[in-house]
């Protein structure tokens, strides 16, 4: 259907802090697009600019071919599901859902017709007369969704809609959100700091960091082909290796990674001999065995190490393996009971191997600050402090 919502060179500053720095995004009609990033990355600010609650300092917002940068919030065909839901406490569920219709001056007949339909969509029929205070978190959120959808917006903005729910409920609401999206076919712009949420619901994800777009892509692209170390570390777990290119053989090259001279890699970045590069290898891309495997394929890289840690979590086991100077994280899925011929224990000598196509070269590498990834949700004032710290951190590493 083509481009539908477009953020064009959006810049936003709060005093000294640049919260959004020249952000350009294109969102297709009818898709679920996620803005993913740690606290202070500017994702909520971008959402507020889209909703019309804050003007950008520079740049334009274009919706369906119309520049809406200066259109006030109440005239935009954009609705928001707020993080705290912002339900009107003095109004019943029915009145909350009908609010948008009444505020835009629709007649009583339309209201009587539409409200029950949307109550049904979010499975709240029978709760019409409850006040928000008498609802559970999940129910409140469903009221917020119905209330936002009833005016048939062109875009629905969801600001961390699941953050306030507990884990089980979050997973259920995620499926429900997906169903609602299929039902109404409205473009969803979803803001979250939770990569799993973003991965499971989105058609496309933009990873934001310090007010800049780090990478845009489908969940698979971001996971399998992260452009930078930040994306690789933020979405899932990974291992980083640094090495020097030794030889080039067609589409492949060999890398000297600190004492392992002959690591084969798919050369998708067209690197040259002698170049220093960083590589990301996901833990599940490794195979692990206590017995040395028969490696006949030249594209398979074999490493030898010692198990430092074993964490059994049911469907898979996570190992930390010391391979010379590297501590490698390995995940092995259990495909069947008793399949592992010999159980691997602490301090066991093991063999690791991975295919040349399963390691990915990074365009940009910087030490990833684990603490930044682990930051909890913050209030706007606190957020500014983090942004300040964040930019300093970025300045130091670049």
């Amino acid at each position: 259907m083509g481009e539908f919502l477009r953020f064009e060179n959006i810049t936003k500053r709060y005093g000294q802090n640049t919260v959004l720095d020249n952000v350009t995004l294109e969102i297709q009609a009818g898709e679920v697009f996620s803005l993913l990033g740690p606290s202070g990355c500017g994702k909520t600010t971008l959402l507020r600019i889209c909703g019309g609650f804050e003007p950008p300092d520079e740049g334009r917002v274009i919706l369906d071919g119309v520049d809406i940068t200066n259109v006030p919030a109440n005239r935009r065909a954009v609705r928001t599901v707020f993080q705290n839901y912002a339900l009107f406490p003095h109004l019943s569920v029915w009145e909350n859902i009908a609010f948008g219709l009444k505020a835009t001056g629709q007649d009583a007949k339309t209201i009587l017709e539409k409200v029950p339909k949307y109550l049904e969509l979010v499975q709240l029929t029978g709760y019409e007369n409850r006040k928000p205070g008498q609802l559970s978190g999940g129910q409140r959120q469903r009221v917020a969704i119905a209330r936002a959808l009833i005016n048939r917006p062109k875009v629905l903005l969801l600001d961390e809609p699941l953050a306030a729910l507990d884990l089980k409920l979050r997973q259920r609401m995620l499926i429900e959100l997906d169903t609602i999206h299929d039902d109404v076919g409205i473009t969803f712009l979803f803001v979250t700091h939770d990569q799993q949420e973003a991965m499971s619901i989105s058609d496309h994800i933009a990873v934001l960091r310090n007010g800049r777009v780090e990478q845009i892509g489908t969940p698979t692209e971001l996971y399998e082909a992260p452009r930078t170390s930040f994306v690789a570390a933020f979405i899932g777990d990974t291992n980083f290796f640094e090495g020097t290119v030794e030889t080039i053989e067609g589409d492949y090259c060999t890398l000297n990674i600190d004492g392992f001279p002959n690591i084969h890699l798919f050369n998708d970045k067209k690197v040259h001999r002698g170049e220093k590069i960083h590589v990301s290898i996901r833990p599940e891309k490794f195979f692990i065995s206590a017995v040395r495997p028969e490696v006949t394929d030249a594209k398979t890289n074999l490493l030898h190490g010692k198990v430092e840690e074993v964490i059994y979590v049911g469907p898979h086991t996570r190992y930390w393996v010391r391979v010379q100077d590297w501590r490698v994280s390995v995940v092995q899925q259990h495909h069947g009971y008793g399949l592992d011929e010999r159980r691997i224990k602490w301090d066991d000598e093991v063999w690791l191997w991975f295919g040349a196509d399963n390691a990915y070269m990074l365009e940009h590498y910087a030490e990833v600050d684990e603490q930044l990834l682990a930051l909890p949700d913050l209030e706007p004032e606190e957020l500014e402090a983090v942004v300040e710290g964040g930019t300093q951190e970025a300045g130091a590493t670049e």
Partner: protein
Amino acid sequence: MKSRLRNISNWIIGAPSFVWLVVFYAIPIVLVFLLAFKPVDAYGGLGEGWTLKTILDLRNPSYPAIIWRTFWQGIVSTAVCVAVAIPISYQLARMTSRWKNVILLLIIVPFWTNFLVRIYAWRVFLHADGIFKNLLVAIGLIENSTTLLYNQWAVLVVMIYTYIPFAVLPIYASAEKFDFSLIDAAKDLGASSFYAFRRVFLPVISKGIWTAVMVVLIPAFGAYLIPDLVGGPSSELVGDKIAQRVFIDRNLPHASALSALLMLAVFLPMLLGKWLNHMRRRRQTREGRT
């Protein structure tokens, strides 16, 4: 056993306040009502037995006008105070805490000066030779012969001035707790700023507004110092009459009857409102169940 112990200790903790309320509020109020039925003796004391004469005396032909004036002045000053206090509170609640404290202080500071001094200041201000009067004459808004003092308008202005802080504080207390993201949400749903203010802000802080109404209306009905000092003979309120009956006529039963009348005038509509609200809520929950 344990719960009974807790019950007893609750009683002991609550007892002093309870005794205080009974001795200094409940009993005097009952006394005021009872006094209205006592005859008066020639020396300003209370006579023997009971009588309905005082109640019948309330049909004094000068009273309806005074009662009517008390009512409309009370209601108008309350309405103006609340109408001014709402936007002030709205802005205050949105301010950063530093400015908020400064403004709040400015609102409260007048309380530090004596009430009488403030009223006398108004007398100076509105005086026939006062600055304000001279200014208005100079601009040509009024003629030199117009008097700003000693009429019901002066009473109204000073009453509004006096009671505005009483209206601001409870409304501000509610507005401060108001979640302003609700205004964003209302606008997001297509509401204009005014619609959001009227349909979201006002209903949510309605408790504070009703407290303000009570806090202003009750003293406004009973006001007597203000009409006494800045009003004239044509702007007497019920409060003045009560004071006259006590201090000049030394007719306590009559003063009590007037006080009781005022009290009922405030209390009965309040009870009626409560009852209506209660019935409405009951109807709503019944509808909710079906």
